[in-house]
Symmetry: C2
Subunit: 328 residues, 2 copies
């Protein structure tokens, strides 16, 4: 099983990306990697990459940076790592591409190198969020900013199939993210989408869900436009982080609480880990003709390793084939 890894993308590239790659190779015997990036930089950090029978360097000279306009940079930088890596999937030399680089650039490369699935107007990024009953799916969390009712209808099906395959949940309950649970609540987009989803036979649409209830695990798939989804996802991250910071500060204030914190450390660590995106791995860009997995820009080795292992599982379970077989 061959995965194309964008070695140059991400805040901690290429060092952490390569360490994550090595870890994934160790834990997954059948994995082979196409390391897409600057040959010199790769060999300096990993001299054996050239002789290792399970890795192959695909040299390229450019990388699209986070702050660049994705579309313009894609056109200008013909030899960008995310473009080359996506093309390897198009040409069937790799079964998936994994990147922690600019999400916008990965989206553009997905659209132009891989193309859209039949019946899908816009792809969506599907992420797993931690809930009290285990991970659940939320999409779109940032591939698009302005979406139509028809876009959201397509996201619903993409999310449902992804949830079934990635999380093994049969007949997942699909919900729409809104500002209230009643059908008539919401903005124009969600009110119209609610109507449309109710009529979708076999989708498993159950209604609207508020931000407050994202964590109770009632919704297996949460459908939203990429703007609200991104706000919700990042607010979750920010709230959890702020809470841990507040606790740390509060715990330092007395000898009693210092001792308490010491005793609680293992339990607290466990809770923190369950919320850690580094453990969750990547988020696939659903709706393009080829598996393209988006990683957090600040991904370290652990996150890259987790994303590679997840990606391998998705390849094995035939995620792309099952998505493509759906009548949108």
């Amino acid at each position: 099983m061959k995965i194309a890894l964008d070695v140059m993308g991400g805040d901690r590239a290429p060092d952490e990306i390569l360490i994550g790659a090595k870890e994934a190779l160790t834990s997954l015997e059948e994995l082979e990697l196409l390391l897409v990036g600057d040959r010199g930089a790769i060999l300096q950090l990993w001299p054996e990459a050239e002789s290792n029978p399970r890795t192959e360097i695909v040299h390229c000279t450019e990388v699209i940076e986070m702050q660049e306009s994705p579309a313009a940079a894609y056109r200008r930088k013909k030899d960008a790592s995310i473009t080359i890596a996506s093309r390897l999937v198009r040409d069937q030399e790799a079964e998936a591409v994994v990147s922690a680089g600019s999400t916008g650039a990965q989206l553009v490369a997905g659209l132009f190198e891989l193309g859209r699935m039949e019946g899908v107007a816009r792809p969506a990024i599907a992420t797993c969020i931690p809930t009290l009953r285990g991970p659940r799916v939320m999409l779109d969390v940032g591939a698009n900013t302005d979406s139509s009712t028809e876009n959201l209808r397509q996201f619903s099906w993409l999310g449902k199939i992804y949830c079934e395959i990635a999380l093994g949940i049969r007949n997942p309950r699909v919900y729409l993210l809104s500002n209230g649970t009643e059908q008539e609540k919401g903005n124009e987009l969600t009110v119209n989408t609610y109507q449309v989803l109710m009529a979708e036979e076999g989708l498993g649409f159950c209604g609207s869900i508020e931000g407050r209830d994202l964590f109770n695990g009632e919704a297996d798939v949460i459908v939203t436009d990429g703007f609200a989804g991104n706000v919700a996802l990042k607010t979750m991250e920010g709230t959890a982080e702020a809470l841990f910071t507040m606790m740390k500060e509060a715990f330092r204030k007395s000898a009693r609480s210092k001792l308490g914190a010491f005793l609680l450390m293992p339990a607290l660590k466990k809770v923190k880990n369950s919320l850690d995106y580094e453990e969750i791995g990547g988020a696939p860009l659903l709706g393009v003709r080829g598996l393209s997995v988006v990683c957090h820009g600040s991904s370290g080795a652990k996150a890259i390793c987790a994303a590679l292992i997840k990606t391998a599982q998705w390849i094995e379970s035939g995620l792309q084939e099952k998505l493509a077989a759906n009548k949108f």
Copy 2:
């Protein structure tokens, strides 16, 4: 100082509303309350309400329920508590109205009984959110679902003035909630609004902020449309609640962590309280001609008391006059 209190509105009305009222009267000498609701129900719970020189019962027979369509219910129920309470402000018999009832109904009553301030097309609900550097202002968190660039421009000024007066922050830093910090990131609404806010002299606009950074306290005022704002606010609440539930479960799992949790309880309680909406009080509906303060639907006595005390402070500091003096 007279405040009209909607005794019938809220999940825990009228019992908890009246207990909160009593507490506020005890802690604030200059406070007088117009108790708007069913006379019989009020007297059964609080027989002295009739003879108390600081309370007056304003009898009404109806209440607009949470699940009712606000506009239709407002038209049909002429004697609804939120309508009567808002009218008392219009007629200058009270200086503010406080309610934990249907937010939609309070908005409609605000629009039709009080009317909009000059230059304000749509009012916005401004709430205080807890951050690592103290409370900050976010608006709109749910008065509107679909907003225009011009709406958001007006919200910015309302939020700035409210922040100065309610939190005492001079020259607050105003940010736009978005899915990235760069100017070109965002949906159509936020990208356009960014442009417009940059040109507003004296506003103190500093750029865009992501959900992840809501808690660091860098932004004093966070401007957003009511849909995204509501999603962000409720996601915060849900995340904090879920985290505390996860910790409780994790802490129960060993004798070591049980002891640790016992020792940490006071510190944990403090963190939890700083996030508790019951301590934060109400959120004013900014942009109507009269002070109308929205409370959480599930408000108990503590939240009502806190809201009444905050409302009294806002009256004293001339919040409404300062908002009305602004050239929008």
